[in-house]
């Protein structure tokens, strides 16, 4: 797979239970729903295009990320499960393969545990949400942005140092500030959910963990733990990448994600 195509997505605007929502969609074939993470939340990336080359790619933008602050009604992941279900209903997307990155993996696992009949397969890319006391996720929300970028790109931010623009770039800075504020609502007080272990253990659909081997935001041992708990999980460890793997090696990540999805029968989920 390559990552050199021009973005192809269409932005769809929907009213979901009174909340103006944006969904990005591209490609054709079996439907893959992608829940973004705390990083690059509103960007359509080459990674998305790579998946859209093989699937009908549906990527909702979590409420608040485009608006610059969390909606009053969004107090936790359960609210997002209901929001996403209503959004997918509105799109007439009944069954799909579900992919989530970072906190999107956490969202996806909750969705799959509450609505198992909607989900053919679950893919979690560098997910967070479990309590792993020996290797906690990095506290990045109140850390030096330079340090966060370095950690994201496992020591080599390269061309991505502008990911967290400085305050002198007011537009860029406040854009990221607003996005991080939504993430704050979701994870500031709850960097893990002790109920997630039990929820994961109830998921019966085929599951796949994609784990960068040098993840300095959410250590790889988190994915190991996810794979241990999820009864049907397989784990793919990718070498030489960090938590920003979607940006660092989009084609390689999209390839392993897509290959797994295609290995799952596309019939009605059980």
């Amino acid at each position: 797979m390559t990552s050199n195509t021009a973005p192809t997505q269409t932005d769809i605007q929907l009213d979901v239970q009174g909340w103006p929502s944006t969904v990005r969609r591209s490609g054709s074939g079996r439907t893959v729903v992608f829940f973004h993470g705390a990083f690059f939340p509103t960007r359509w990336l080459p990674f998305h295009d790579d998946l859209a080359a093989r699937f009908d790619m549906v990527a909702p933008v979590t409420p608040g990320y485009l608006e610059g602050g969390p909606p009053a009604w969004m107090l936790g992941f359960d609210d997002l499960v209901l929001h996403h279900r209503a959004l997918l209903d509105a799109l007439d997307v009944e069954q799909f393969d579900l992919v989530g990155y970072d906190i999107g993996g956490w969202m996806a696992a909750n969705f799959a545990s509450f609505y198992p009949d909607r989900v053919r397969s679950l893919t979690a890319i560098a997910p967070m949400g479990l309590r792993v006391p020996e290797a906690p996720a990095m506290e990045w929300m109140a850390a030096d942005p330079q340090r966060v970028v370095e950690a994201l790109f496992n020591g080599d931010a390269g061309d991505h140092a502008d990911l967290f623009p400085p305050p002198s770039d007011i537009g860029g800075f406040v854009g990221a500030y607003g996005e991080n504020g939504v993430t704050a609502r979701l994870i500031w007080e709850r960097r893990y959910d002790t109920r997630l272990d039990r929820r994961l253990s109830n998921i019966r659909v085929p599951a796949h963990l994609v784990s960068p081997d040098d993840d300095r935001i959410i250590p790889a041992v988190h994915s190991d733990r996810w794979a241990e708990i999820l009864p049907t999980a397989t784990l793919t460890r990718l070498s030489g990448v960090g938590h920003a793997l979607l940006v660092q090696e989009p084609a390689r990540v999209a390839q392993v994600v897509a290959d797994f999805i295609e290995s799952v029968p596309s019939g009605v989920a059980s």
Partner: protein, 447 residues
């Protein structure tokens, strides 16, 4: 009426820490390994002595405040200091400016403690309410995105708990309490003054004006101070139809006075620079972490700074700090002239940090500053006789038992107990047979 009220404001810093360039932040990540309790013991007592001294010197009051996990201000539990000061002083006001309401899981704790302090002190407490700085949401692990909503709900709950007899129910967005019934209730009616300390946040100013809460502006330039105070007047007059009393507005502006202008600068310069460069060393990601402000309010703040050409505190030269009005330094005459200017330009009626401690200033220098303020500056703004406001007013509680008895007599209800016979007697006079009837009953030894 005195034209200005004078308050001594104290941060109680711990100054024996690395220079600014050698620490990421004075908040959150500066290790408390630098804190030596032996040194801290000495500092606390010096700081408290300064505050107690303020009453004898004729200050209107003293102000303490709440901060967490920082050498900037080592007073995470300001109500403890208020209790100490209430016991050590008799007359002046004691302000906690303020308690960080949203950091409390149950804000009634603040209502209870302030009410306790108000009763203990005889109605001398000012209850400042603050949202807490961004850094404190990091150290407390508390969701900053809900902090504004929690602040206002907590504030309203506390005010109601002080003013309405309980028990009543409170079923809010953030606090769900079946029984609100705070014991004790405060002495001051309808409740201790609520102050809103804040920076130049329009939202804080507007809400203070709306609720007629005194607004205390934290250190900033003359230019920004002018627009903040003007906004308070404008909102009060145009939106709420009243003209604020000057004592609804106070400015926190450290003042150092010495015999001459030159001597004042000589004494204060290093301590002021330490404060602005070291004690205010806080990077943006600690000051305004994600979620503390909305995107739009952050945008306004940054654009405002660019428009004003404002530098960060740590970038200001000493001369800029003085000329910009962040601090007032000089001879008594210079300080008097600058305070006159504050009254004229801002129409304010209170000054905080009006002489006293700043940064690394030694105890003797703080006391010298305070004495000169009291001798040379404060009387200029007082009515003839030089009395502070508290000495011009009737105290909120009787000062002697005879006064108490004359004013209040006996409490409305007398405590009673039911005897085995079914009869109730008043316990206070139970030991006097002439008053208690058949009481006391014979003891077994008598029978």
């Amino acid at each position: 009426m005195n034209r200005l009220e004078f308050y001594l404001f104290h941060l109680m810093p711990y100054p024996y820490i690395p220079a600014a360039e050698d620490m990421e932040s004075i908040w959150i990540t500066l290790s408390n390994g630098y804190y030596d309790p032996q040194v801290g013991h000495r500092l606390y007592h010096e700081y408290l002595d300064q505050m107690v001294l303020a009453e004898k010197l004729g200050y209107d009051g003293v102000l303490v405040n709440e901060h967490h996990q920082t050498a900037y201000a080592v007073q995470p539990a300001p109500n403890l200091w208020a209790a100490y000061l209430a016991a050590k002083t008799q007359h002046m006001k004691i302000g906690v400016v303020g308690n960080a309401l949203p950091l409390h899981r149950n804000p009634l704790r603040v209502a209870e403690e302030i009410a306790m302090l108000d009763v203990l002190s005889g109605g001398r407490i000012i209850s400042g309410h603050v949202r807490a700085m961004g850094a404190e949401y990091v150290s407390a692990g508390s969701d900053p995105t809900l902090s504004k909503d929690r602040f206002w709900e907590a504030n309203d709950l506390i005010e109601k708990a002080w003013t309405e007899d309980g028990p009543f129910q409170w079923h809010g967005e953030h606090y769900d309490l079946e029984y609100v019934n705070v014991w004790p209730k405060p002495v001051q009616k309808p409740h201790p003054p609520i102050w809103l300390p804040g920076s130049t946040s329009v939202e804080t100013i507007d809400n203070a004006a709306k609720r007629r809460y005194p607004f205390m502006l934290t250190p900033t330039s003359n230019w920004l101070s002018k627009s903040a105070f003007a906004r308070y007047y404008q909102v009060a007059e145009e939106q709420f139809g009243y003209t604020p009393h000057p004592r609804q507005l106070g400015r926190l502006c450290h003042t150092h006075v010495a015999e001459t202008d030159e001597q004042a600068h000589r004494e204060a310069r290093a301590h002021i620079l330490w404060f602005f460069r070291n004690a205010l060393k806080i990077p943006g990601f600690h000051m305004m972490p994600a979620g503390y402000n909305t995107r739009d309010s952050m945008q306004k703040t940054l654009e405002g700074k660019v428009r004003a050409g404002a530098k960060g505190f740590g970038e200001l030269t000493y001369e800029e700090l003085v000329e910009g009005g962040y601090v007032i330094v000089g001879s008594p005459q210079t300080v008097i002239e600058k305070y006159e200017q504050l009254i004229e330009d801002f129409k304010i009626g209170m000054v905080m940090s009006a002489g006293g401690h700043l940064g690394t200033m030694p105890h003797w220098m703080v006391q010298k500053n305070m004495y000169l303020m009291a001798e040379e500056v404060i009387p200029h703004f007082r009515d003839p006789g030089g009395k502070p406001t508290w000495a011009q007013q009737e105290p909120n509680v009787p000062q002697t038992l005879s006064e108490y008895s004359a004013r209040y007599g006996k409490p409305k209800l007398q405590p009673k107990v039911r005897l085995d016979s079914g009869e109730h007697i008043e316990t206070i006079t139970a030991h006097v047979p002439e008053l208690s009837g058949t009481w006391p009953v014979p003891t077994p030894a008598d029978t």
